[in-house]
Subunit: 328 residues, 2 copies
């Protein structure tokens, strides 16, 4: 990490954030949010989930959101799909990337999607068949997202062997890549390093590029640092830390995009994101979701005086001084 | 870090926390706090500061606090001293460790203690002469604490060369060790690693053992992880994140002791601290300081189901399940 390395910050707020809260964000606000983050330089956004509207009314307009997001030049439009039916809808709408969640804890899988591991892997094979039937130019990338990879609130400890085996099975079933999710906020940096190394050793360096980390116990950014040190280059996060665990009041769930980008840029790692512009996007959330708490330390504290971001052209200049003045 | 390594968590709340807030904590509450944290296994506590009572009325009873804390078996009693006069009072009270803050930013030094670097180094030499006149058994350890080492809200960037030179001068003046403080919450993990390596190279591995990190921009624990990876074994923190920067509302200043201990223990690093017992100490703060916000994620989220701490005998057992149940 001595030269400027490029890190992909994948915003998941419009999916993981909005599915975790009570209010339904209007379609126009979703569009404004996605457009503003893309304009700030965010290159990938998970914009929704193709699940039945009666289960998640907050995401019922995902097809429309995908169609809009696709019109933004350069933006990779990602969605979650729980099954083949969802994948068909995602392909129809034109998503660039599909992620299917597979819970390493089978108890959690049964509770969450009412399917065993074997049933989920069948679903994965069905989706792979669908995607391979498409012309290459229209074929979205397909990721298997291993949730509860670092522990489960029902099963407790999740054996690394099980996670490694499931990662292998997802790749064997035809996924392009796998990701690891700390759904429960149980992960610690030593565990992140160990599990990433083991999964990479099993499926290959390039098949594991991403981590989805939570900040439930405050370790989110420390776990990101651990991931960076074992070669992870994609990190999920949520603007304002929106979403995550609704069962732990006061504890933000997802890693906060603003703090993550600040850490990476301060470390000399290019995100391509203009931090002052990103901080301004919070206003859209505040206006559209007035009853929700927004998290993040950097938005409150402002940027350090003299802060030089890694991303060229995103130098905050006088704004940094103004922001730092708050904390002077 | 593959075998269980011992890490010293140095609680600074009774000094750094209490000096940053308006209310004055009664002496009895301070004693109860210190006793409870020591009983939970915290081995070093900075209990106060020998500064004029008119400047910091919150710490006017420091001599009494030191005398009480000395009666707790096994507890290392640390204090801050701004000058020779403070050091004399600290020796008289019987503190085991004295830290003098030297701000790497001379502008900050002038504003904070109205002294230049040269004047502060004279003060250090005076204190060293005092300490060397004491019988070895009564001689406290003396640390030079380099504040604003990672940046200053007035000067902005602080050159690493300047920090290295001041560390050398502190050791030349007779300090036993130096510490680095991210007073402003400007540090990032890459910077922590680089500066620690440079200072260790200049003054020797054992002369730099401690980091005092803030969580102003949410990077506190990531910076701790960076420190661990370059051999730092002592970390300051504050229960409930009390204190730190009063100018950034909503942003906790100090690294939160509860979250720090959770991270270290989860990583297999022994702190000697019983985490469930530590979490209970928050009640003393809540009762004694009802108007203050307490920070920390682990206290809200509870310990993970099946959590096994590194410290032997501190296995939370059924309590972990109960706490995790909140987030299940």
């Amino acid at each position: 990490m001595t030269t400027k390395q490029r890190i992909l910050v994948s915003e998941v707020g419009p999916r993981d954030g909005l599915q975790s809260i009570q209010p339904v964000m209007p379609l126009e606000a979703k569009k404004a949010w996605i457009a503003a983050e893309a304009a700030a330089g965010v290159a990938e956004i998970e914009v929704g989930s193709f699940v039945p509207a009666k289960l998640l009314p907050q995401l019922a307009d995902t097809a429309e959101v995908v169609k809009y997001a696709r019109t933004i030049p350069g933006l990779a439009v990602a969605v979650l799909v729980p099954n083949l039916k969802g994948a068909e809808a995602a392909v129809e709408a034109g998503a660039h990337k599909l992620t299917i969640p597979l819970s390493a804890s089978e108890t959690h899988s049964l509770k969450n999607v009412r399917r065993t591991h074997a049933q989920m892997l069948d679903e994965v094979r069905g989706i792979v068949a669908l995607l391979r039937s498409l012309p290459a130019a229209r074929r979205p990338k397909f990721e298997g997202g291993l949730s509860t990879a670092f522990g489960c609130t029902i099963e407790g400890v999740v054996a690394p062997d099980k996670v490694v085996r499931l990662a292998e099975q997802l790749m064997e079933a035809g996924c392009d890549e796998v990701g690891l999710s700390d759904t429960t906020g149980y992960a610690n940096p030593a565990q992140v390093k160990e599990l990433v190394k083991r999964v990479k050793a099993a499926v290959g360096d390039h098949a594991l590029s991403g981590l989805h980390l939570h900040n439930t116990r405050g370790l989110g950014l420390a776990n990101v640092l651990a991931g960076l040190e074992v070669g992870i280059t994609t990190f999920d996060s949520s603007l304002g830390g929106l979403g995550g665990c609704p069962f732990a009041p006061g504890a933000s769930g997802n890693v906060v995009t603003e703090d993550l980008v600040f850490m990476l840029e301060a470390m000399g790692l290019e995100t391509g994101i203009d931090l002052p512009k990103l901080l301004e996007v919070r206003r859209i959330l505040r206006d559209a979701l007035p009853t929700e708490s927004l998290y993040g330390f950097t938005p409150d504290a402002g940027l350090p005086l003299g802060f030089v971001p890694a991303t060229p052209g995103a130098t905050p200049g006088p704004q940094a001084g103004a922001a730092a003045g708050v904390a002077a």
